[in-house]
């Protein structure tokens, strides 16, 4: 039999004003097991507690029921009181008849009294089943993780470090300092923000108890109070933090400029940067944003952004050296490459793509006028000889790359001169032969042996080469056979296949062509043939193409120039028969075509129109409808692809015969020079790996982290530089038609690059850094794990994006700025060196208007007040008066002016004394007046006037919003957020620094927007809370947790899967002689939520203090008590 005492509190009139307390107490005396029941005006007072203690002794009570306010207020008070009287504190039960009864039923006092009776009856029934419980204790790590390196994080870290705790301060940006570092002055004292912040930053940087983890983010948190395991992801700075001295030489050398985040885009910084001069740690960071689209698109992976950025700086030699690292033919590529890079160029989405190819050609041309250094022969020599068949771009690239690796390479060429299609395919007016000679000479200089006039398959066979000791062979013979038209008369004299025609012309051989030439085909070879024919006595050149102009595959500029030079293009025409007389061509019978449905290439299929035949008189026909591979030299056992080219593995380029590789046109059919170069490079890597016995496939799939699309705000439109061309009347010879950029043009054009990738990896920084191994462009993300006892979240906040209120003109008018931008303008280290100047004009403003509550107190965006906007504006208005001139007109348009802190109202007063004009109304929209200044209408109610304010500068008091990072932090830390998006404290008044997860505290603006004094107070408070928790190295834990009846546990693990706190582990145990897996509760992690208890199919889990029998007794009392009444 239990002996229960029941105590009903009046709580002044809070309870007694509604509930008949005496009546309730009297009712309680009649309940079973109740020995005494009393009421008291204030039970929580000393006298109230004394009464309970005395009753326990006098009536030998072994259970106590208190009916009063929420247990969150006073459960601890009464537990302590009963404990002092010798009773276990968990034999107390407390019920809430204030928040859950008198306050919510104040209009129905009688029913409220009845409810109180039922609640007490339930509590009494439950009380008899209560168990005496004991608090547990666990060891706690005496270290704290502080998330966010703003002033809150710095202050909390310093307080804890000074108290002897180890602190890990983590910051996602490269330096600590946070928002406060961006401010100019602070209200209401007008202290310089940096002057009061930087000493704290420096102290945090050198404190032995503080470990700074900058440019890092929390990735995961496991564990529980006292024992949190934290995984941290440290982003690569590409610079060694320990070794960097912050000298800034790398910054001077870096060619890339990008908007500074710290200066809100008002100033540019380099790709290697330090956000501000007082940064802690004082080291540089390289900003890489992924592979730019140009580089990602280039088949040979040329670092386009790298050389473009160097050209923009006038570093042509460096640009050339960088280019040569990727391709051996900058000059040739710069003339004939089809530059897929330019199609992908981000600038093209804005105005025109950067003229990448022309810049590359300029670099090569510039270098060819300079004295060249002789390439150094490779230091290391490998023994294995390699044969390359074909001296086109693919073959020569492979040879060059392999020679660089130290292999002796021999190139076999059937023609008298090396170069392949570069020499015999592409006409001289597009690619001057000195460019080809020069670059092939450089390849030879590097140690490649080229043997001309040797036709493999005739002079020497592949097998013989292998027998001669060549360990690997790369076949890059190209395609030199023209496809046949397949019509009558192709054997007639005067029909010359295009490649044969071009080859003969390019080798200086005589070709007979008549005055009237018809070229058949729509590709580049057709255009080349037509333009070459014009340069060789042809009077009239027709180009017949069976589709229309849109489908024509030839490159646009070639088409255009051909037409200008006099080639006549005929579309939708196909040859049907070549008519001859005396064995010579005299005319061509053609048929008109129309376009049908698209075929498998996506182009519309040409269909002949019956009866539309016509005859053109011509004396030469040049078919240019495609090429094919001459396979006669190949051994029979080499497999071919379905397109009758050499079949290879797509990754390694190895044929079905080991050690024999192939690439270029011989594999791809008809590809471009850059594709051939890419194949050469690829084959070189494969051959090296093959000879060294390494895995040829490992790590070669194309995996690039492409740079994200970059914002084009604030970029000025600037057209692409036009390629200067040879005047039309000076053409029709071998002179190059495209003349190339001048130095000015190249630099101007290079400046149009948007630097998509951030750092361009031009490696200029490495050249100037005097210390060894400080810069490491290959640095990877680092994962760090630490153990801490407690976590303080000081993640700060973001500024409202004023773009969302377009009516106020932000983003539209340069002179409309946000108040954070004003801070940078006013800051001595900012873009204007502390002079407040209008961004559009660069002149000091003659008048400034501030508009309050932008995004704040606005149900379209943030309902809440930003809490600092009024004071920030007062401060900035005063700064305008003080820094610009006292006669500058300053207006503040406001709705409510909130100057609530210590010395704040005096600050407001000071602003009024300075003649700042306050307008009690907000404008609807900001416009531009006739004299180009900003203007807006605002209604002033006190004078009943609609005012028009004309001003030079408008400053928007942008609100404060939660950071987008909060969602991730919320998930990782398992702490709640309030509807406004900020982190939620446990209690708005009594526990403002705690979160519901024990051991995790909040401070600063991540909890709610606040000013610096409040932030620092909270930070010190949170530090104190963490110190209090961890001071003894042990934390006490409530016994209100789950417990497992091991007999019943079947080890099904359902509880483990549903536990939100990861507080359940499976352990192998012997229970009553039976070995099995049973669930075990980690007492420190369990929050007593009860989900496992409900989920357990075997009912093996019960909650201490909320056992099933206790709850059932309560329910029973509720039901039966109701019946009795």
């Amino acid at each position: 039999m239990a002996r229960i005492g029941v105590y009903v509190c009046h709580c002044g009139l809070n309870i007694a004003g509604v509930i008949d307390v005496k009546n309730v107490a009297e009712y309680a005396t009649k309940l079973p097991d109740v020995k005494v029941a009393r009421d008291s005006t204030y039970l929580c007072s000393d006298s109230g507690q004394k009464m309970i203690k005395e009753d326990i002794k006098k009536h030998k009570l072994d259970r106590v029921v208190v009916a009063s306010c929420s247990p969150r207020m006073h459960e601890e008070t009464f537990r302590k009181a009963v404990n002092e009287a010798g009773l276990n504190p968990y034999l107390l039960d407390m019920i809430n008849i204030r928040e859950q009864d008198s306050w919510c039923h104040s209009e129905e006092p009688e029913k409220a009294t009845e409810k109180a009776k039922v609640l007490i009856e339930m509590a009494v029934a439950r009380a008899t089943h209560l168990d005496a419980l004991k608090k547990g204790k666990i060891k706690a790590a005496k270290s704290v993780l502080v998330i966010g390196g703003g002033i809150a994080g710095i202050q909390a870290s310093l307080d804890l470090a000074n108290a002897g705790f180890k602190v890990h301060l983590i910051e996602k940006s490269p330096s600590i300092g946070g928002r406060m570092a961006q401010l100019d002055k602070t209200f209401p004292t007008l202290d310089c923000s940096a002057c009061i912040l930087t000493p704290k930053m420096a102290e945090a940087g050198r404190h032995p108890n503080i470990e700074l983890l900058t440019y890092a983010e929390v990735e995961n948190v496991n564990g529980f109070v006292g024992n949190y395991d934290v995984t941290i992801r440290k982003k690569p700075r590409y610079i060694d933090e320990e070794k960097c001295t912050g000298c800034g030489e790398c910054e001077n050398a870096c060619p890339i400029s990008m908007p500074s985040e710290f200066d809100l885009g008002l100033k540019m910084r380099k790709a290697v940067y330090r956000p501000f001069p007082q940064a802690v740690p004082n080291v540089f960071t390289i900003d890489k944003r992924g592979i730019p689209p140009c580089r990602a698109t280039c088949p040979a992976g040329v670092n386009v952004q790298g050389y473009i950025s160097l050209v923009s700086q006038g570093k042509f030699k460096e640009a050339y050296e960088l280019l040569r690292k990727f391709i051996p033919f900058p000059s040739i590529c710069g003339r004939v490459c089809f530059h897929p890079c330019e199609n992908e160029c981000e600038r093209g989405k804005f105005d025109d793509p950067v003229a990448i190819n022309a810049i590359k050609r300029f670099v090569a041309d510039y270098i060819s006028t300079q004295e060249k250094e002789k390439p150094k022969p490779p230091l290391k020599r490998n023994a294995e000889k390699i044969a390359v068949i074909g001296s086109g771009p693919a073959g020569l690239t492979a040879a060059y790359e392999l020679t660089k690796m130290g292999y002796p390479v021999t190139v076999f060429e059937s023609l008298p001169k090396a170069g392949g299609m570069l020499r015999v395919g592409i006409p001289k007016y597009r690619l001057p032969r000195n460019a080809v000679d020069e670059e092939i000479q450089m390849i030879e200089n590097s140690g490649v042996e080229i043997r001309t006039n040797i036709t493999v398959g005739k002079d020497v066979t592949l097998e013989e080469l292998l027998q001669q000791g060549y360990a690997a062979i790369f076949i890059a013979v190209g395609v030199h056979k023209c496809r046949k038209l397949g019509i009558e008369g192709e054997k007639l004299r005067g029909v010359i296949p295009s490649l044969e025609f071009l080859r003969k012309v390019n080798m200086g051989k005589k070709v007979e062509i008549g005055p009237k030439v018809a070229v058949i085909g729509g590709g580049d070879t057709a255009i080349d043939a037509a333009r070459t024919a014009l340069r060789h006595n042809a009077k009239e050149v027709l180009l017949l193409y069976r589709r229309s102009r849109e489908e024509m595959p030839a490159y646009a500029s070639g088409k255009e120039e051909a037409e200008k030079e006099g080639v006549r293009l005929h579309f939708l025409v196909s040859p049907k028969k070549i008519i001859g007389r005396d064995g010579r061509v005299v005319s061509l019978e053609c048929v008109k075509m129309k376009l049908g449905e698209p075929d498998e290439t996506g182009r519309r299929r040409p269909i002949p129109i019956e009866g539309s035949e016509f005859i053109i008189e011509v004396d030469t026909v040049i078919p240019a409808i495609g090429q094919s591979l001459d396979t006669t030299f190949l051994p029979k056992n080499v497999k071919l692809s379905q397109y009758v080219t050499i079949g290879v593995d797509q990754v390694t380029l190895q044929t079905n015969l080991p050690g024999i590789f192939a690439g270029g046109d011989a594999v791809k059919g008809k590809a471009t020079v850059i594709d051939a170069i890419a194949d050469g490079k690829r084959a070189a890597v494969s051959i090296d790996r093959y000879l060294k016995g390494k895995d040829m496939w490992a790590g070669r799939e194309k995996k690039v982290s492409k740079a994200e699309e970059i914002p084009k705000v604030g970029i000025e439109k600037k057209p692409r530089q036009k390629m200067p061309l040879l005047p039309l009347d000076q053409r029709l010879n071998d002179k190059e038609v495209e003349l190339g950029f001048t130095e000015e043009m190249a630099r101007e054009e290079a400046n149009r690059c948007l630097a998509c990738g951030g750092c361009s990896e031009c490696l200029e920084c490495e050249k100037v850094c005097e210390l060894a191994e400080v810069i490491n462009h290959e640095q990877k993300v680092e994962e760090i794990t630490i153990k801490v006892g407690s976590i303080i979240v000081t993640a700060g906040c973001e500024v409202f994006d004023a773009f969302l209120t377009p009516e106020l003109g932000y983003g539209h008018y340069t002179n409309v700025i946000t108040n954070l931008e004003f801070e940078r303008l006013s800051n001595a280290a900012g873009p204007t060196k502390g002079k407040i100047l209008c961004p559009a004009t660069g002149k000091p403003p003659k008048s400034v208007a501030f508009i309050q509550c932008v995004g704040s107190r606005d149900k379209r965006f943030c309902r809440y007040c930003c809490r600092v906007g009024c004071m920030v504006t007062l401060k900035q208005a005063i700064l305008v008066k003080e820094k610009v001139a006292h006669d500058v007109d300053v207006y503040i348009c406001y709705n409510d002016m909130r100057a609530f802190g210590k010395a704040y109202e005096e600050f407001y007063d000071r602003a009024r004394q300075m003649g700042i004009k306050f307008v009690n109304g907000l404008p609807s929209e900001v416009k531009v007046s006739l004299n180009d200044s900003l203007c807006f209408d605002v209604y002033e109610p006190n004078t009943n006037k609609l005012l028009e304010i004309q001003t030079d500068l408008v400053v928007l008091a942008s609100g404060l919003v939660p950071s987008p990072d909060f969602a991730k932090l919320q998930r990782i830390l398992r702490i709640p957020r309030s509807p406004d998006g900020f982190f939620l404290e446990t209690h708005p008044k009594l526990q403002p620094l705690e979160t519901p997860t024990r051991g995790i505290f909040l401070a600063g603006a991540c909890q709610s927007p606040k000013d610096i004094p409040d932030t620092i107070s909270q930070a010190s408070g949170a530090a104190m809370k963490a110190a209090e928790l961890l001071a003894t190295g042990e934390v006490g834990i409530e016994p209100l947790i789950a417990m497992v009846e091991e007999d019943f546990c079947s080890g099904c693990r359902i509880c483990e899967s549903v536990c939100p706190y990861q507080a359940i582990e499976m352990k192998a145990k012997t229970v009553k002689g039976e070995k099995k897996n049973v669930a075990e509760i980690i007492a420190a992690a369990c929050q007593g939520c009860g989900i496992c208890s409900v989920a357990c199919p075997a009912r093996a889990i019960d909650m201490q203090h909320y056992k099933q029998e206790q709850i059932l007794a309560q329910i029973k009392a509720a039901v039966q008590g109701g019946k009795r009444r």
Partner: protein
């Protein structure tokens, strides 16, 4: 407990305010905090002295009578700027429309131009009268000359549903 306008001796009428509120959805004139952004941008303020914030405040204070019988509620040009830019979703425009409806209900004097529009709609189904246009060659053109179909007179079904919508 009462609120009296000492200039006119009018008493505040809370019931009428509630009646206005009950007609509105998704806007909250009672939450207006008088920032005056609506009046600062009001298209009708300069010419016709419409002050939307005043209308909302008078309505919230229960001085609805004087508004219903006033000419000022008919000056709104329906530009919807106040609705779009109101930071409290109070939308004075909606209150003005509710006041106009109340005025029609009470058969208060509706400006003639509105009645003309009603008559026009009943006659042609169009809000505006069909006008002639002048070509670049200064030729006057009507619908027929432009090859446009003749305007159909709306049927009785339309007329009755239109009148119903007007509360008539």
């Amino acid at each position: 407990m009462s609120l009296t306008d000492l200039m006119t001796m009018a008493k505040s009428n809370k019931m009428l305010q509630r009646q206005i509120l009950s007609q509105l959805w998704e806007v909250h004139p009672d939450e207006c905090f008088q920032c005056m952004r609506c009046t600062s941008g009001c298209t009708s303020l300069k010419l016709l002295e419409l002050k939307p914030h005043e209308i909302v405040l008078l309505t919230n204070s229960g001085f609805v009578e004087e508004l219903v019988s006033s000419d000022i509620i008919w000056t709104c040009a329906s530009c919807l700027k106040c609705r779009e830019r109101c930071p409290q979703k109070a939308s004075p425009y909606n209150t003005i429309m509710a006041l106009r409806n109340l005025a029609v209900e009470r058969e208060a004097k509706v400006p003639e131009v509105y009645m003309k529009v009603v008559a026009q709609i009943l006659e042609t189904g169009l809000m505006q009268q069909v006008k002639m246009v002048t070509s670049r060659e200064m030729q006057p053109l009507n619908r027929k000359k432009l090859g446009l179909p003749k305007i159909q007179c709306p049927d009785d079904k339309f007329k009755s549903s239109f009148m119903k919508a007007l509360g008539g």
